[in-house]
């Protein structure tokens, strides 16, 4: 059995766990704990080690999706999780500009770990307070070449679209590298 992995990262409460849950064929193995910090109490639990989802491609190949913990104090996990990944997805909550700085920081940290392809998913685009994609692009300092995709993490279609765009990027990079 061959296995490959992708990493879903992003700030606290960006929707990483929901993203993996939407597409994984198994119940996400989630290591969640009650939140102890008052400042981060916008939800009741958070991922402290990693989320883990699985998509069986065929009898020989399995794709694993790893979600990183969102809280900064668990950032020592990021490098471990990014080891050997095909690519990564940075999730950002479109309604919480206060997390954009952290999203930028996570993105730059991951870019520095590994020169792998990545896409950025602007989650919660269905909410009225969501920032527009082009504003998010500027706030995150994404170049025009970087794929920034609208997403609603609990809707399978948008999650599929994000994963596919990442795979297209991986394929394009392989083809460009092979020339």
């Amino acid at each position: 059995m061959q296995t490959v992995k992708m990493v879903v990262t992003g700030p606290f409460n960006a929707g990483k766990t929901a993203f993996i849950q939407s597409i994984s064929e198994i119940n996400v193995v989630s290591t969640e704990r009650k939140i102890s910090s008052e400042a981060e109490r916008v939800k009741n639990t958070t991922t402290v080690a990693m989320d883990f989802g699985r998509i069986t491609v065929d009898e020989d190949l399995v794709l694993y999706l790893f979600g990183t913990p969102g809280q900064k104090r668990f950032d020592f996990m990021w490098e471990i999780l990014s080891e050997g990944m095909l690519g990564f997805i940075v999730m950002v909550d479109s309604t919480r500009p206060e997390t954009f700085r952290e999203a930028r920081s996570i993105l730059e940290t991951f870019r520095a770990y590994a020169p792998t392809p990545y896409v950025v998913a602007a989650n919660k685009q269905d909410l009225p307070d969501a920032w527009e994609l082009e504003d998010i692009r500027l706030a995150l300092r994404l170049s025009e070449k970087t794929k920034l995709l609208p997403c609603v993490a609990n809707k399978k279609d948008t999650v599929k679209a994000v994963l596919l765009e990442l795979l297209y990027s991986i394929l394009a990079e392989m083809e460009a590298g092979g020339k």
Binding site: I23, L86, D135
Partner: protein, 271 residues
């Protein structure tokens, strides 16, 4: 969808950066501690600014700029109370009291001063109302934002924040391809110019720091200013092309790797 948020997490400088890069037209309303200020923009340039309840009439601005005396200000207020700023400006120019340049430069200086004062606001809410632009009788100007952004960025001094903004010094810098930005029109400091001269995808930030003899804090400050002004962007160093590392695949054969990615694509499409 309105652009809104909290200044604690999204600074005035970052807002100016966004407005500048997106060439936005509209009104930025900032509700700070006890006051509400308004900045108006046309195509990414500052056109008007109002600080709280401060008198921002042309007469008051000319008085602040010492273009008229206190006595002249009082007379103007009494005799031209019904006039708009545009009408008053024309009257002063036609009467030979002031030139158009006097008026425009006074307004520009005042608006820049308002933005500088707003840099000190770290608490409060903001919202950007797109295309809401009503300035009856007011004189508007066009002020490029790059210099203000650089100035505001220099005020970010906290090590932790800078480290969060630029977590890795192993990245390189490249000039952005944005049209309309002319480096010559931007007031860079000597330190910033020294760094600018080494900006290239071939040089990591750490290498630039070593060459220009800056420590981690100093180089981060400079790079942050340049990033905020939209002059440069972070890129992977030239020798490191984007590619999925071979160890990410269970096979080292290129064709098999492509086939594997295509199988993943087919499977995800079918879900």
């Amino acid at each position: 969808m309105a652009l809104k948020g909290n200044l604690r997490d999204f600074t005035i400088t970052q807002l100016l950066n966004l407005i500048n890069l997106a060439r936005k037209t509209g009104t930025l309303v900032i509700e700070g501690p006890g006051d509400t200020s308004r900045l108006m923009f046309r195509e990414g340039k500052l056109s008007f600014a109002q600080f709280g309840q401060e008198d921002c009439s042309l007469a008051a601005i000319l008085l602040r700029a010492s273009k008229i005396t206190q006595n002249q200000y009082r007379i103007l207020r009494e005799r031209t109370a019904q006039m708009s700023d545009k009408e008053l400006g024309l009257l002063l120019i036609n009467a030979g009291y002031l030139t158009q340049e006097d008026i425009i430069s006074s307004l520009q200086q005042y608006f820049i001063d308002v933005v500088r004062r707003l840099f000190t606001w770290v608490e409060g809410f903001f919202r950007f109302d797109q295309d809401v632009f009503t300035l009856d009788g007011k004189i508007t100007v066009k002020i490029d934002l790059e210099n203000l952004i650089i100035e505001g960025s220099r005020q970010l001094r906290e090590w932790e924040q800078l480290q969060e903004e630029i977590p890795s010094l192993d990245m390189a810098l490249k000039f952005t391809d944005r049209p309309g930005t002319n480096l010559k029109n931007i007031n860079l400091s000597i330190e910033e110019w020294r760094v600018v001269s080494y900006v290239s995808p071939k040089n990591t930030i750490a290498q630039i720091a070593k060459t220009v003899k800056m420590n981690d804090l100093e180089i981060r400050r400079v790079v942050y200013s340049l990033l905020q002004a939209g002059l440069v962007e972070l890129v992977r160093p030239g020798g490191m092309p984007v590619a999925t590392p071979a160890r990410a695949f269970p096979t080292q054969n290129k064709d098999e790797q492509k086939s594997l990615v295509n199988r993943l694509i087919s499977r995800i499409r079918s879900i």
